[in-house]
């Protein structure tokens, strides 16, 4: 049912340059973004996430593929004909207009009646708590306030989809945290579909309903923050989001042998042969001695991280892994460097990667 999707990209390809020099910023990306969800495109710079956003906004046309908005083909519609608005990374506020005029700009361009423009602007000013700033020039505002004006300006025409291009990257940490919850609140209150682009995995995990992880012009995985974190499909996704360990393993289709010793039932549809499994440091459990059924390991180093104690371990087969254990009340390490310990994993925490 494509009617349920706010935005859909089908086999979107965007190449820059000509012939042999052409670079594919987007390489066959298909994604469905549902109505009313907070969807985040997450990836390192140059992964194609901003290009995908610009295709949806209409600033770029795809080399091939289609973009649908609520089921209608908008691939070649110019930006001013799309009910989609953007919050720009640079905010791009109009310097010659006041805060209220900035917010009302889209409505005015749509030719809405003056009374309606004014009512909506007032409502938006209240929504972003800038009533007192209505008559100011945007250059008189702080970074956080400018950010909120940019949001209000993009929300004022009630777009079907709001696109946010790394809007928080220019703010300091404290302000960014505030704006994260602010954004989430606005999204819930307005019910508008948000497509948020970021390279900050923490931002993505805390705000999103679903995340699309991108790398090298391809969509690597789409899922809820929990799915992305606990069930990464491949090495890129696992390493890009949070800290993780990669451990070699072999599978005979039913049993998985990890790091040459630890055995566990293989998840369904695991291919036979050599595979890589990933496990989060906090799912690595340590016993003070290498008991049978555990993987023997040597403690290489201990790092006190405040809430956690981080152990660097050297497994018998040569693999280096990390374990993360919640610190006890004294902050003293339970295990010392050089000690031989036993390693096990929380049941179900091992994830077999596709590549």
């Amino acid at each position: 049912m494509s009617q349920l999707n706010a935005v859909e990209a089908r086999h979107a390809v965007k190449a820059f340059g000509q012939g042999d020099n052409a670079v594919r910023a987007l390489n066959d990306v298909s994604v469905e973004i549902r109505k009313g969800e907070f969807f985040t495109l997450l990836g390192p710079s140059g992964c194609g996430k901003t290009t995908l956003l610009r295709l949806i906004a209409g600033f770029e046309m795809p080399t091939s593929g289609t973009i649908l908005l609520e089921g209608a083909d908008i691939t070649y519609l110019p930006p001013n004909k799309r009910p989609v608005n953007t919050v720009f990374q640079s905010y791009a506020l109009f310097p010659h207009l006041t805060v209220a005029q900035n917010i009302g700009f889209g409505l005015e361009m749509q030719g809405r009646p003056k009374a309606e423009v004014k009512a909506t602007v007032d409502r938006m000013l209240a929504l972003v708590k800038l009533e007192a700033m209505a008559g100011r020039k945007t250059s008189q505002l702080s970074g956080g306030q400018q950010q909120r004006v940019a949001l209000a300006r993009a929300l004022a025409p009630s777009p079907k989809v709001l696109l946010l291009d790394e809007p928080l990257s220019a703010l300091d940490l404290k302000l960014r945290r505030e704006m994260q919850s602010e954004l989430k609140r606005l999204q819930t209150e307005t019910g508008i579909t948000f497509i948020f682009v970021t390279h900050d995995q923490e931002e993505a995990l805390t705000m999103s309903d679903r995340i699309g992880v991108m790398s090298a012009g391809k969509l690597q995985q789409v899922g809820t923050p929990r799915e992305i974190y606990t069930r990464p499909l491949n090495r890129f996704v696992a390493s890009f989001i949070g800290e993780t360990n990669f451990v070699p393993a072999t599978s005979d289709g039913s049993t998985l042998t990890v790091a040459g010793g630890y055995q566990m039932p293989a998840p369904a549809a695991t291919k036979s042969g050599a595979v890589t499994v990933t496990v989060r440091p906090e799912q690595v459990k340590l016993t003070p001695t290498a008991e049978p059924g555990t993987l023997p390991a040597t403690v290489r180093g201990v790092v006190y991280m405040g809430t956690d104690m981080n152990y660097q371990l050297h497994l018998a087969d040569g693999t280096e892994i990390e374990a993360c254990v919640v610190s006890d009340v004294t902050g003293e390490a339970a295990l010392a460097a050089g000690q031989t310990v036993g390693v096990t994993f929380t049941p179900g925490s091992l994830q077999v990667l596709e590549d």
């Binding site: 001013n80 953007t86 506020l93 700009f105 361009m109 993009a154």
Partner: protein, 303 residues
């Protein structure tokens, strides 16, 4: 403040005056001095063979717009003078409008080139400044005269059978001035457009503005200081233009500049010439004051 500090402050004020003395002397001698002479002359009576007679008279100022009837000594509106004023103002406004219409796309084109080629384009814009104004004006003459380049080409192409009569008309003066003053419009426009944040175009386009609305509601208001500066830079010298109307207007299509020249030459009416010069100065000052007012308003808006 202690006595020592006061003495030091007084000393620094004295030093300040001392350092500015050369500049003040030069300004008094060469800027204020001649202007004062012009002011004084405008209130004197014309001499028989040019120069002035040291006798207070308002005829110079009166002569700007009124003329004395040779039979009954009554004053009537000087139609010829009004025509000259009107032509000067009309042609200056037209020149400003045309240079803007041509200069804006040009400046936009240059400002949107990559940094490397931008320098070359700006260099090309300034090339006409390297040649004497008179030579350039004669070059335009060569293009638009009856047997000139333009008419020859048009006749050869069969588009016209008779040469277009452009030379020695208002149109010729207008074309010539637009050509001469175009760089003065392009450069300030370029400076303004160069500072313009192109990302605002996407923002406006994203917010449902059509191309026309982007131009009218975003680009033009933001580059307005450049438009005003360019307009003043073109309008002011156009109003006082001398060479261009002389060469391309053929002495008949006079502008204020030529009219002033006439009073000091064949007209032998220096007081009228002085009064006309001051009138021109007043018009230009008024234009500049309006500019300063606009510019200040923009600066205060920007902060």
């Amino acid at each position: 403040m202690s006595a020592a500090e006061e003495a030091q402050a007084a000393q620094s004020v004295r030093n300040g005056w001392l350092l500015s003395t050369p500049a003040l002397v030069i300004l008094t001698l060469f800027a204020v001095g001649p202007l004062l002479i012009v002011v004084v002359y405008s209130f004197l009576a014309p001499g028989q063979y040019g120069n002035v007679e040291w006798k207070l008279s308002l005829d110079g100022w009166r002569g700007i717009l009124w003329t004395k009837d040779i039979f009954d000594d009554t004053y009537g509106l000087a139609d010829a003078n009004v025509t000259i004023f009107w032509r000067s103002i009309k042609l200056s406004i037209l020149t400003t409008v045309l240079t803007f219409a041509v200069g804006f796309p040009t400046a936009w084109f240059i400002a949107t080139r990559p940094a490397k080629s931008r320098a070359l384009w700006l260099f090309l814009i300034t090339i006409p400044f390297w040649t004497n104004l008179l030579i350039r004006t004669y070059a335009i003459n060569e293009v638009i005269r009856n047997e000139g380049l333009l008419n020859t080409v048009l006749i050869k192409l069969g588009l016209i059978s008779e040469p277009l009569r452009i030379i020695y008309t208002d149109t010729a003066v207008f074309i010539g001035m637009a050509y001469v003053y175009l760089p003065l419009m392009v450069l300030p426009l370029f400076a303004a457009i160069d500072r313009f944040d192109m990302r605002l175009l996407e923002a406006a386009y994203d917010l449902y503005a059509s191309r026309m609305q982007v131009l009218r509601r975003v680009i033009l208001p933001i580059v307005k200081p450049g438009i005003i500066a360019g307009s003043i830079l073109v309008f002011v010298p156009s109003l006082g233009a001398y060479v261009t109307p002389r060469v391309l207007g053929g002495g008949k299509q006079m502008m204020i500049g030529n009219f002033i020249d006439l009073q000091f030459g064949q007209g032998r009416n220096w007081p009228l010439g002085a009064a006309l010069s001051l009138t021109l100065l007043i018009i230009v000052t008024a234009a500049l004051l309006i500019y300063v007012k606009y510019a200040n308003r923009d600066v205060s808006n920007g902060h």
